[in-house]
Symmetry: C2
Subunit: 324 residues, 2 copies
């Protein structure tokens, strides 16, 4: 067997890096001279990329286009905005380039994160954790009477994929009415799924609207005044997809008018939002700094997932989380 | 059928009060001249109590002792500390007094509240909601790497009852290792249950320890330095039972030493804790003001539950949530 060259530009912990080298052996790991500051920033092209048969990480599109050897790109995130363009898809199709992502690694913690948002909202945690109210006083009655049970409430999930499937599993004991929006429903989702055209009637009765949309030309500012108007008064909006899929001015207006009861955002545009951004000052807007996918040493889970796919690649069996 | 007299000292909303009167008719609802300021404060005896066949609320023990007519007391909370004494139990046994509580009304929201605590902790919400960290910086790496998944973690529940059973249902999709402590395990609990003597070995591996103990002579300060020492380093302690079951000085010490990663308390002693109380100033101690059982118009749910039991009482079928 010829030793393959695997380009890896991921920031890995020592343990994860050792596992990658040991687990991939006898295949060779090559690393760039400089790594991008963050997984979301634009990487610099690295001359060693031209030697790679496989890439694991977030290499720049130009290097992929110039490569004559690359056969498989394994993206180290669930999102793959950089590669999700008609041009790149065409390039991948022409070259027979396989593209997989790491959505399995992030689906469980992402689903738990938005579930934490839903429960924190229904149990009024942001206000309750600040309160020193005494049993029976007006503030206490407001907190106690305002908090609710998720049981029997309605949820609309925008975007059907690994996270949605995981979330539906977690919500099962709450007997909620769950509807997902999918570009093309197939009927095998296991719960009601609607097209974008059918979305308004689903939004009209949703207590929680959960946005997991990836960023692409169709999803930019997809959540805007028109969408918020379709939601019922008192709905709660959650975003763990991409910040750019929401018109943030429209979101602010929907919160300020009281039409939305609250917004819970793990993603914004830009990230982080500037300190004085009006969404930061809005009392019912709750923001976490894009950590939904985190789960302890996630680079270790990423490497394990990549190595599992590497075994499949070498065995010629279908890869997990293939996106192109 | 003779019309019965039902004493009700509960604070009910207009809707709930109407439902009580209509639903109980032709039986008569009698209300005291003054009602206690809160369900936890000591009520004043009311002369009309002597006429009551049934009591729904939190009547004072002295009035019950003096009553010659009372056949059934339906306590309007899940806790019934006031009545949970050997003297009262003897009185109830001698008189043939039936005592029921409202635990079914509160078990679902209480279970959701502590579940919200668990997820808020595992997703680091208190710190993450305050953070404006940028992707890749040290604070961000700490939040993202510190947050975990509940999946596969261990839970010990102190106190086996309606809330524990409800919580176990909600946690099912997370495939956690769940153990409950019960005074006398019967083997029909559906998951591992240990005696108080077997508790230390269960505590030693628990990621989350959930206290649902009611207050009685055996449970006062049951959670103390000895119990915390039995817990593993990094455990998270939750209390939705009664504040008096915890030695708060010992809890403070366990938090300050870093032995406990965090505490989440819906109950304290006293309630509310004074503004300057050291537990309020402890960064990893998160306190909500005894709202775990809240769920919108809970007085309506309480009345529905009481009326369901009234129908059973009149039909001579076994009552729900009977405690004596």
């Amino acid at each position: 067997m010829t030793a393959l060259k695997i380009f890896s530009d991921s920031h890995l912990t020592g343990t994860a890096s050792s596992l990658l080298h040991d687990g991939a052996s006898p295949h060779e790991i090559i690393v760039p001279k400089t790594r991008p500051a963050s997984i979301l920033s634009k990487p610099e092209p690295d001359p060693s990329f031209a030697l790679a048969d496989i890439a694991f990480g977030q290499p720049d599109v130009e290097s992929i286009r110039n490569s004559e050897k690359l056969k498989w790109l394994h993206v180290s995130t669930a999102g793959f905005t950089r590669y999700d363009t008609p041009e790149f898809r065409m390039l991948a199709a022409e070259r027979g380039l396989i593209v997989t992502n790491s959505s399995s690694v992030y689906s469980a913690p992402c689903a738990e994160h938005v579930f934490a948002f839903m429960l924190a909202q229904s149990r009024f945690l942001p206000a309750a954790l600040q309160s020193q109210a005494a049993n029976g006083d007006a503030e206490w009655l407001g907190l106690r009477g305002g908090s609710t049970s998720l049981r029997g409430q309605s949820v609309v999930i925008l975007g059907f994929g690994a996270i949605a499937l995981e979330l539906v599993k977690l919500l099962a004991p709450f007997e909620m009415k769950i509807t997902a929006m999918r570009r093309t429903p197939r009927g095998d989702e296991g719960f009601p799924t609607v097209t974008p055209e059918q979305l308004p009637s689903a939004l009209a009765t949703a207590d929680h609207v959960i946005n997991i949309l990836p960023e692409n030309t169709a999803s930019l500012k997809y959540i805007n005044t028109a969408r918020f108007a379709e939601m019922k008064s008192g709905a709660v909006f959650h975003n763990i997809g991409r910040g750019t899929t929401v018109d943030q001015d429209d979101l602010l207006a929907a919160l300020r008018s009281g039409h939305l009861a609250a917004a819970w955002l793990d993603v914004t545009d830009p990230e982080p939002l500037p300190a004085g951004h009006p969404l930061r000052l809005e009392p019912n807007c709750h923001i976490t700094p894009h950590i939904a996918g985190g789960h302890g040493d996630e680079t270790l889970t990423l490497v394990k997932h990549f190595l599992g796919n590497l075994r499949r690649y070498l065995d010629g069996t279908p890869l997990l989380d293939r996106v192109m």
